[in-house]
């Protein structure tokens, strides 16, 4: 339950700093900031409730045995590979990816494959790539970046696996 208090404190401090800076240096920034925030709010507000309900329901529908077999403790490197592919093709923004990660956790996925999944999603996010990267930076740039980013989720998953194993075999608490 305290998971969200720390982030809230952090964003409030950060916002206070930005507001104070704008007040001292760029008073006209207040108006621009409010307009941008309003536009973003209008885009996000209707989506978030439905996205959260969908993620919660999908979590309940996931077949536990299959999730545990593909992404669980015994899936090994194969689980990390599989998770990287799933994450790379996962559509939607953070309001889909993170609730889905919780759902997979509950259904028996372990940490290393989930690290790979989130890394793959964050590097390759299909929507973001199509909406922002291709129009702004071009197809050539985008394809080149995707090519060099493709191995990274697997690397992150493997490193996470090593860290988890190191903690599990030592005296410290695992995860």
């Amino acid at each position: 339950m305290s998971n969200f208090l720390l982030p809230l404190a952090f964003v409030l401090v950060m916002l206070a700093g930005l507001v104070a800076y704008a007040q001292l240096r760029h008073r006209d920034a207040h108006g621009i900031a409010a307009l941008r925030a309003r536009d973003q709010f209008r885009a996000l507000a209707p989506r978030i409730p439905f996205a959260l309900v969908a993620a919660e329901c999908i979590g309940r529908l996931l077949p536990r045995d299959e999730v545990a077999a593909l992404l669980g403790a015994h899936a090994g490197v194969g689980g990390t590979l599989f998770a990287s592919v799933v994450g790379g093709f996962l559509p939607g923004g953070p309001m889909v990816a993170f609730p889905l990660a919780i759902a997979l956790f509950r259904a028996g996925a372990t940490q290393a494959p989930l690290v790979a999944l989130i890394t793959a999603w964050s590097l390759l996010a299909v929507n973001r790539t199509l909406l922002f990267e291709v129009p702004l930076l071009g197809t050539r740039f985008t394809l080149s970046r995707i090519a060099v980013s493709a191995p990274l989720p697997i690397l992150a998953g493997l490193i996470a696996g090593v860290i988890v194993t190191a903690f599990a075999s030592g005296s410290g608490p695992a995860g």
């Binding site: 439905f50 996205a51 329901c57 529908l61």
Partner: protein
């Protein structure tokens, strides 16, 4: 005037997609576990929404202020002039600190490219922003997944921007 307002209320495609996804998955839960579990799912989602709403609300204003205040050209010039290890380090730090969504990061890369930054520096910046960006970690990941998991993922992701940059540098055909 009224017609304009109605048009504004009409959900866009992405929203329709989420509405359909929620309806289909709720229907699936209803078939599998019955109506009480659909109600329980909606209750869980509402709790989560109430928890994250203040954070997201504040974050929207942070994004707005950053877009209004960020000296984009200055950052671009600064990163464009530094290549090699120093450039990689600066690009990583800039990526971690860029406290905005894709509407902030990609225009910055465009400015970087125009200022003459090489492909690998742009890749380092984007990889750092995507995998280590403090904005997304604080607003989305910590509330949803908790600090144990987030610490593990951040530790595992620390080398990624540099590795991506080295891959990008080794690419035979550099995008101009």
């Amino acid at each position: 005037m009224i017609r304009e307002r109605v048009a504004r209320l009409r959900p866009d495609r992405t929203t329709l997609f989420f509405i359909a996804l929620a309806a289909v998955s709720a229907g699936g839960v209803w078939l599998q576990d019955g109506g009480t579990q659909v109600v329980a799912s909606i209750r869980e989602a509402t709790t989560l929404l109430l928890e994250i709403a203040p954070v997201i609300g504040a974050a929207l204003f942070i994004g707005g202020y950053v877009q209004a205040l960020l000296p984009r050209d200055l950052v671009a010039r600064w990163l464009g002039e530094n290549s090699g290890p120093v450039g990689y380090l600066l690009a990583t730090i800039a990526g971690i600190l860029t406290p905005a969504g894709p509407f902030g990061a990609f225009p910055l890369v465009l400015a970087l490219r125009r200022a003459g930054a090489p492909f690998d520096v742009c890749v380092v910046y984007l990889s750092a922003w995507a995998t280590l960006g403090v904005n997304r970690i604080v607003i989305w990941e910590l509330p949803f997944l908790g600090h144990d998991f987030v610490m593990l993922r951040v530790l595992a992701s620390l080398p990624l921007p540099i590795v991506a940059g080295l891959f990008a540098r080794a690419m035979p055909l550099q995008p101009r």
